[in-house]
């Protein structure tokens, strides 16, 4: 495994780049209080909309807040939202899909139609509705993202389970009298989880992007929280002051692309079969 990862680093430069970028943002987010030169919410009316300089690497926004510090702190929210959303949606989707696929029949039909109901909504609009109804804060935004994201995992899991459950070792377990729950958790899920993992890694980038989109639309955390999407939305007002929206935008871009590169690389590593199909 270690050798395979080493090989991956050597052969896939995009993967390496993705890892560097993501590790960079994770370290920055964890060390934010140490790294950032200013308090991200401290206002200073005299330093309004200053262009990038040595004192303020990324310039200042319309409240005179240091954008560099805000971008560093902002990583905390975006990363947290991306990882947590994928984690929770993945767990829900895995179990839901596994149960539907393994039990089959009417249960399968009802469960999958339910999840398709959610899938049939445009995901951004659905997330916006959930958020607007529940009131917008960080927790509710993530909740909305999870609601929108889990059915995809459920569908994938179900399709894998459908083929896995035909295997002889499942039949053997059944013959030996193992309970359905035991078969599901000990035989089926461990043998189907790989494809969900692959999808989850590529999905992190998408979720970060989605989270930023929602907070751009004013449905994220409440100000003055330094959140990337919201910072971009603030910066739109200042068309000719590129740094207000530009740097947080760049942060979203690098983070999303980096996470996608990692996802791609991991897919190549874990599932060479899938790679050939594409």
């Amino acid at each position: 495994m270690v050798r395979a990862v080493k090989k991956l680093f050597k052969s896939n430069y995009l993967f390496t780049l993705g890892v560097i970028v993501c590790v960079f943002w994770i370290v920055m987010a964890i060390l934010a209080p140490v790294v950032s030169p200013y308090d991200p919410i401290e206002q200073n009316a005299e330093l309004r909309l200053e262009a990038p300089s040595l004192a303020h690497l990324f310039g200042t926004d319309n409240f005179g807040r240091d954008i560099f510090s805000r971008v560093i702190y902002g990583g905390r929210y975006s990363l947290l939202a991306g990882l947590l959303t994928v984690f929770i949606a993945g767990i829900i989707g895995t179990f839901y899909g596994a149960i539907a696929g393994y039990v089959g029949g009417k249960v399968d039909n009802i469960m999958m139609r339910l999840s398709e109901m959610i899938l049939s909504f445009p995901s951004l609009i659905l997330a916006m509705i959930i958020n607007a109804v529940m009131g917008s804060n960080l927790f509710n935004t993530m909740f909305a993202l999870v609601i929108v994201a889990w059915p995809t995992y459920a569908r994938l899991m179900r399709s894998v389970v459908l083929s896995v459950k035909e295997n002889e070792y499942v039949e053997a377990a059944e013959v030996l009298g193992a309970s359905k729950i035991r078969i599901l958790t000990k035989e089926i899920i461990p043998n189907s989880i790989q494809s969900v993992l692959i999808m989850a890694t590529t999905d992190i980038g998408n979720q970060i992007l989605m989270f930023s989109t929602l907070s751009f639309l004013g449905l994220g955390s409440a100000p003055p929280t330094p959140e990337w999407g919201m910072m971009v939305s603030d910066g739109v007002e200042y068309f000719n002051k590129f740094w207000v929206a530009g740097f947080p935008g760049l942060a979203i871009f690098t983070m999303a692309v980096g996470a996608n590169f990692i996802g791609d690389g991991l897919r190549d590593l874990l599932d060479p079969k899938l790679r050939k199909q594409f």
Binding site: A45, R48, S136, A222, P223, E237, Y238, N240, K241, F278
Partner: protein, 543 residues
């Protein structure tokens, strides 16, 4: 790897394709605009003025218009009994020659000017005045409330109008200056389906006609109106008064500040009504362009609920005063942009009887801390500040909330900003007075200081802050006192009393009057910001 490269190239080519589409379409649009401008110029050299203004309306029928921007058009095509000739003053007679009130101020008698004719050639008589005001009242459209205090209208002869009021109304002259009280050509409007009968709301069908042409006595006539796109006004050839030298106005309904800035600098438009601080800075120092920074009467304010069960600590008058002292007014004005002012108290600067601005030196953090300690909150407290997703003339309310939160942190009040969508609950909570501590804004309905009386105890906005007339009878009594005052001197006195009474007391902290940055081509004279009309087109001349 090769495939990935291919995908990348594909993506890149798509991006280029998109930008190419974008630039070519904007390119063709601007060349079209300049072409039309030159063809118009060919007919009448340089006396065509092109204006870009905001959208948000879908009719130009004076009986229905209630939005901000159509006022500019109505003011150019129609005339009213009274008018605001300058932006800070009372309404002055326009079609009215003389006017008088009876002893108890319930009957207003107006004599009309001689020789006023409509663009159609019909003379303007008292019959038209009665028709127009009754039509507005009976249409029951958005602006119908303006005629609420008018009980009935009598027309003893062609030149005399007698307006019976339901009660003394100090704001009646300002109301008669509002677009909904424009005098329509009753003959033309009736011929096109208009009526002033009591069932006008259902039987009047003149709106379609009034959306395609004007029927007033104004300096200009409307010749074309394409909703959300363009309005064309041409000089009224038979105008009864003295006209300006502008022959034609082309009004583009296009409110993007960057487009306005670019078309103004290229000479495609002459007046840009929706600039921003950012686009103004681009035009600074540019030859041939004049910048205007004025404050509007749209005002943002902090509201602290007087009901302790809703407001909590901010229902305490001492805490309210501490907050009033803690707000950094100079900082708020900087954030809102040049031209922003903070009113003295609940009556905005620019209104008749206003005491002007609140000094930015008013902020006193030490005094605020002392007051807070006196109220029993020496260590401060935590509070939620609810804010919705609306913006005041382009300034997001969340920006103001962030500034206030940071100011109040200085005196130990820890403000937690809670965002709520206007449509998803905030609007109802605000109107029902369920919010404890919030930032909101208020745009005036018509240009009279009496609209601000709603900020008193028992007024519409006052009640939203849990400020009932019973809880504060002294302040509440000022409401009636102000509406009953008719003479300018009396009005001024009571308005002053109101402003002093709310200077350091009450649930409202007025933060800022929004600025209205505009820019225009220096070949024009007489362009000035006007609250009721945005720009008074009947005062603009070409040099």
């Amino acid at each position: 790897m090769k495939k990935r490269l291919l995908a990348l190239m594909l993506a890149a080519s798509m991006v280029f394709g998109l930008t190419a589409c974008g630039s070519s379409s904007t390119g063709s649009a601007s060349s079209e605009a300049s072409e039309s401008a030159t063809s118009e110029d060919g007919a009448s050299t340089n006396s065509t003025v092109v204006i870009a203004m905001g959208s948000g309306f879908d009719t130009l029928d004076p009986g229905q218009v209630y939005e901000k921007y159509p006022q500019m058009v109505i003011n150019a095509c129609y005339e009213t009994l009274f008018k605001f000739y300058s932006n800070d003053g009372a309404a002055e007679p326009m079609l009215a020659d003389t006017y008088s009130f009876n002893e108890d101020n319930t009957v207003l008698t107006i004599t009309l000017k001689d020789g006023v004719t409509f663009a159609s050639g019909n003379p303007l008589t008292s019959k038209d005045v009665a028709f127009s005001l009754n039509r507005t009242k009976n249409l029951q459209g958005n602006p119908a409330f303006i005629t609420d205090t008018i009980a009935s209208i009598e027309t003893p002869d062609d030149k005399t109008v007698v307006i019976n009021l339901t009660e003394p109304d100090g704001a009646i002259l300002s109301k008669l200056a509002y677009s909904a009280c424009s005098i329509l050509d009753s003959e033309v409007v009736t011929a096109n389906g208009g009526t002033d009968a009591e069932d006008a709301a259902t039987s009047d069908s003149a709106q379609a006609y009034l959306d395609s042409a004007s029927a007033g006595s104004g300096m200009f006539v409307m010749t074309s109106y394409i909703p959300d796109s363009e309005i064309v006004l041409e000089k009224n050839p038979s105008y009864w008064g003295e006209a300006t030298n502008v022959d034609k106005y082309v009004i583009k309904i296009q409110d993007d500040a960057n487009t306005q800035m670019m078309t103004l600098s290229s000479g495609d438009i002459d007046i840009a009504c929706n600039m921003t601080e950012d686009t103004m800075s681009e035009l600074e120092g540019k030859d041939g362009i004049t910048l205007l920074n004025n404050s509007t009467k749209t005002v943002s304010f902090l509201m602290m609920n007087m009901d302790e069960s809703i407001g909590g600590p901010v229902s305490d008058p001492k805490v309210q005063q501490a907050i009033r002292l803690a707000v950094d007014y100079a900082g708020i004005q900087t954030i809102c942009g040049e031209g922003t002012t903070t009113p003295y108290s609940i009556i905005q600067e620019g209104f008749f009887g206003s005491l002007g601005e609140r000094s930015t030196d008013y902020t006193d953090v030490e005094a605020a801390k002392a007051l807070l300690a006196e109220a029993g909150y020496a260590d401060g407290f935590d509070i939620d500040l609810t804010v919705c997703d609306l913006a005041m003339e382009g300034i997001p309310l969340t920006d103001l909330a962030q500034k206030v939160a940071s100011d109040l942190a200085e005196i130990g009040i820890n403000v937690n900003i809670v965002s709520e969508a206007w449509a998803a609950g905030y609007g109802d909570d605000y109107r029902d007075g369920k919010l404890g501590f919030t930032v909101m804004y208020w745009g005036i309905d018509y240009n009279d200081p009496n609209v601000q009386l709603e900020f008193l105890a028992g007024g519409v906005v006052g009640l939203r802050a849990g400020w009932t007339a019973e809880s504060d009878p002294e302040i509440a009594s000022l409401y009636a006192k102000a509406t009953n005052a008719i003479e300018d001197a009396d009005r001024e006195a009571v308005l002053k009393e109101i402003q002093e009474a709310t200077y350091e007391y009450g649930p409202f902290v007025m933060l800022a009057q929004a600025p209205c940055p505009m820019a225009y081509n220096s070949r024009l004279t007489g362009v000035a910001f006007s609250d009721p009309y945005t720009v008074d087109l009947t005062q603009v001349n070409v040099q």
